[in-house]
Subunit: 204 residues, 2 copies
């Protein structure tokens, strides 16, 4: 409904809010939104609560994002920014593709600054259908299709998704459930075991 | 703390509750608990609420299970009963092991009666540390170690866990997030793509 290039809708934020606007404010709202979604869950997060956490007027949150679903979608996009590196990884030597993806993926999850927001998104999506819908649209459109376009195997999108499933399962067992022995395994050991799996899915 | 063979603790349930006791009552409490955990989440589920849903006195729930953590552990065990078939699958022809596991696992998730309780457990574990702790103990003790004992590869437990990670990731993308194309793919197509992955982890 809301066009990204023309987000202004009925009403207008008060002059003080308007003067605080800009890319930095938008980012501040998104970071606050991410924290709210992570801590309270999707259902209990409100536009008003996001505004309060960001230190801006609620009208400004509506001004930038329209609805809660749209803030959530934008915060997913921000949280998945590290994942956006994956299509670029396809450009290197094809026979080390699985290894490159495994190493970058685990690197993102090893780093607590990038892990927390991803975790928040995954948790929201697993417990709220509205959040799941936003996430599945995003995963397919931004990630799987872009990867699949570079592959020359049959069913490239399905294969890309099975590779993603492998990495998501690892993230959940290693970083969320913290199930041993995976939780304490060395990154490089996991990379060496997982790389051939990803390689087989993506290059056949 | 509580020994499974001698669950009776201080105090005792009233005579009426005692007379209703037995394996059927225990199962009724567990089924009620599973529903409560699934619908309310771990935090909001109470011993009293479980008793009410099962139509028994709260003292009886305490009598059988002691604490909420113990009810949760027992309901995980009940929900994972279908997974207990996995160690048995190791007995067939070794070169079709991956295929057998993939087919049985997807069969359990395709069937809504077995999917719902598994989903409830996964959701609880992803959103509550107490539940995650119970699940990780269970997964390692009952599932991974039993599978690993039958494997003749290096790091058998880690490899079994990576195979589990693949299947958990598929369950989440296909049945929870419902991300395409995996959500609509034929079971047999998924089996044929995933079987070699499991096979490689488990037999090298």
């Amino acid at each position: 409904m809301t066009d990204a290039t023309a987000p202004r809708r009925r009403g207008r934020p008060p002059r003080t809010a308007e003067s605080a606007a800009g890319p930095a404010t938008r980012d501040r709202i998104l970071i606050a939104a991410r924290t709210e979604f992570a801590e309270r869950g999707y259902d209990k997060t409100s536009m008003r609560g996001i505004a309060r956490a960001a230190g801006v007027d609620a009208a400004l949150v509506h001004h930038y994002f329209g609805t809660k679903d749209e803030v959530f979608a934008a915060s997913i996009e921000m949280s998945f920014e590290p994942a956006m590196v994956v299509p670029r990884l396809l450009e290197g030597p094809p026979d080390q593709l699985g290894e490159r993806i495994a190493r970058v993926f685990l690197g993102v999850w090893e780093d607590e600054r990038t892990r927390a927001p991803l975790l928040a998104v995954v948790r929201s999506a697993l417990t709220h259908e509205g959040a799941a819908k936003v996430l599945r649209g995003f995963v397919l459109r931004h990630l799987l299709r872009r990867i699949a376009a570079e592959l020359s195997v049959p069913d490239p999108t399905l294969r890309a998704e099975l590779a993603a499933a492998q990495m998501i399962g690892i993230a959940i067992l290693r970083y969320v459930i913290e199930a041993e022995p995976l939780a304490s395994a060395e990154v490089e050991q996991v990379v060496s075991l997982v790389a051939p799996t990803l390689q087989t899915y993506l290059t056949g």
